[in-house]
Amino acid sequence: MNIIEHVGSFTKLMKLTLTIPDRWSMFGRQYLREIMKLGIDSVFIDIIISLFIGMAITIQMKLNMSNPVLPGYLTGLAVRDTLLLEFSPTILCLILAGKVGSNIASEIGTMRITEQIDAIDIMGINSANYLILPKITAFISVIPSLVIISIFSGILGGYGVAEFTDTITVTEYTQGIQYSFVPFYVTYAIIKSMVFAFIISSVASYYGYTVKGGALEVGKNSTKAVVNSSIIILGSNFMLTKLLLT
């Protein structure tokens, strides 16, 4: 399949997916299940990664700003803005593309090769809508919370460095993270992450739903889902930054 055929068949799948659910009660049940699986189950990895990245960024920023002319609070400011603008909405989503994307693609792919999706279709149910819509909506609605948690965890990691090492003082760090705060950056981070959440869940669902063959193809398509959603995320990151920040 070439790229145009992929875009065409992705669009057709989304047309089937983004329709009114056959039964709202079943949608609600699936939605809550996905919130749990894609969102709550990702909180731990979200906190751990962000904490360590926050620590590393703080040390690196301090090393790069060792010039005595630069005020000490700049390190905290740089850590905050790096987390807010790039790490938490973009890099975190790239990491989640691996965790959540492969999970979605392999789950739907396995259902495809074991005829579970055919069984849903034969019952007269729109299988794309039943399986994919709850995943997309759940991931989009849970991602802002993951991003906010990530930002706070990263900042906390940096605070830990200030508190327990002699790299930077706590006063400098806390002054820096409060200095010249732009509230729109939070909105920007949330908008970006929601777009990325749609990309991850829809691209992974597409690769799972269109699996043909056996277990080997499920594995291959899961890998394709992660690779392609990562590339699309990075491309749209550039476009969204240009659109929203300039």
Binding site: D22, R23, S25, M26, T110, M111, T114, E115, Q116, D118, A119, D121, I122, M123, G124, I125, N126
Partner: protein, 256 residues
């Protein structure tokens, strides 16, 4: 009753998989589609269900032509169909009871207690009440097939399709599944279509047998006529079967 009229079907490579098939699947009977692997029997079944669009011809469900229906009408039509898949196709994340309740959750207005009662009634019918809280991975292949039958009949379908219901099962369990499908067919007066290459099933429950050979209808009849068909490819298929070898061996033993 399902009537298949002048149905032909080709795939992208241009090879004709079904070539002008004409047949009738009767209500209240077990209708078997038999043939060698690659003969076109699965395509015939999938075309009859509406999974494949046919190139020409008509498929009438009690007079309603599925080939003329739009996607929404086919979706509505599918609600009258129960289907048993080769690999059972039970949902891994649900228990046996939840699997059987699933069609009720989607389409019925019953409350939870009523749905549960109806699902248990169907599981009792297939003798699987003791496994209601187990997941598909925790039960045997035969039990999975029975659970899938319970799910297929829970909405009282008019038409029941079974794709290789005996695949992966031992002969004794296969026989039990065959008899269960036949009993259900008679009990609920369903039009049942079974896609199989198991000659045991043919001899046991073949009330209306359609033999497909190289995309064409080779022969049609019932289990009592199957040994005297005059159809060479069908005779080859029968004589190659383990069942025939056993009958032949028994015949010679008796003679001696």
């Amino acid at each position: 009753m399902i009537e298949v009229k002048d149905v032909s079907k080709s795939f992208h490579d241009g090879v004709k998989v079904l070539d002008n098939i004409n047949t009738v699947f009767e209500t209240g009977k077990t209708n078997l589609i038999i043939g060698q692997s690659g003969s076109g029997k699965t395509v015939l079944m999938k075309s009859t269900v509406g999974i494949h669009k046919v190139d020409q011809g008509h498929i009438l469900y009690d007079g309603r032509d599925i080939t003329q229906m739009n996607d929404h009408q086919i979706k509505m039509m599918h609600r009258e169909i129960g289907m048993l898949f080769q690999g059972s196709a039970l949902f891994d994340s649900m228990t046996v009871l939840e699997n059987v309740m699933f069609p009720l959750d989607m389409f019925s207005d019953m409350n939870t207690e009523q749905k549960r009662a109806r699902a248990i009634e169907c599981l009792e019918r297939v003798d699987l009440k003791r496994a209601i809280d187990l997941f598909p991975a925790e039960i045997s292949g035969g039990m999975q097939k029975r659970a899938a039958i319970a799910r297929a009949i829970v909405l009282n379908p008019k038409y029941l399709f079974c794709d290789e219901p005996n695949s992966g099962l031992d002969p004794k369990t296969s026989l039990m599944i065959d008899r269960l499908i036949q009993e259900i067919t008679h009990e609920f007066n369903i039009t049942t279509i079974i896609n199989t290459h198991d000659m045991n099933s043919v001899m046991e429950i073949g009330e209306n047998i359609v033999f497909i050979y190289k995309g064409q209808k080779g022969w049609q009849g019932n289990k009592d006529q199957v040994y005297d068909t005059g159809c060479k490819p069908l005779e080859d298929l029968i004589f190659a079967s383990e069942l025939y070898k056993k009958i032949k061996k028994a015949h010679f033993t008796l003679k001696e």
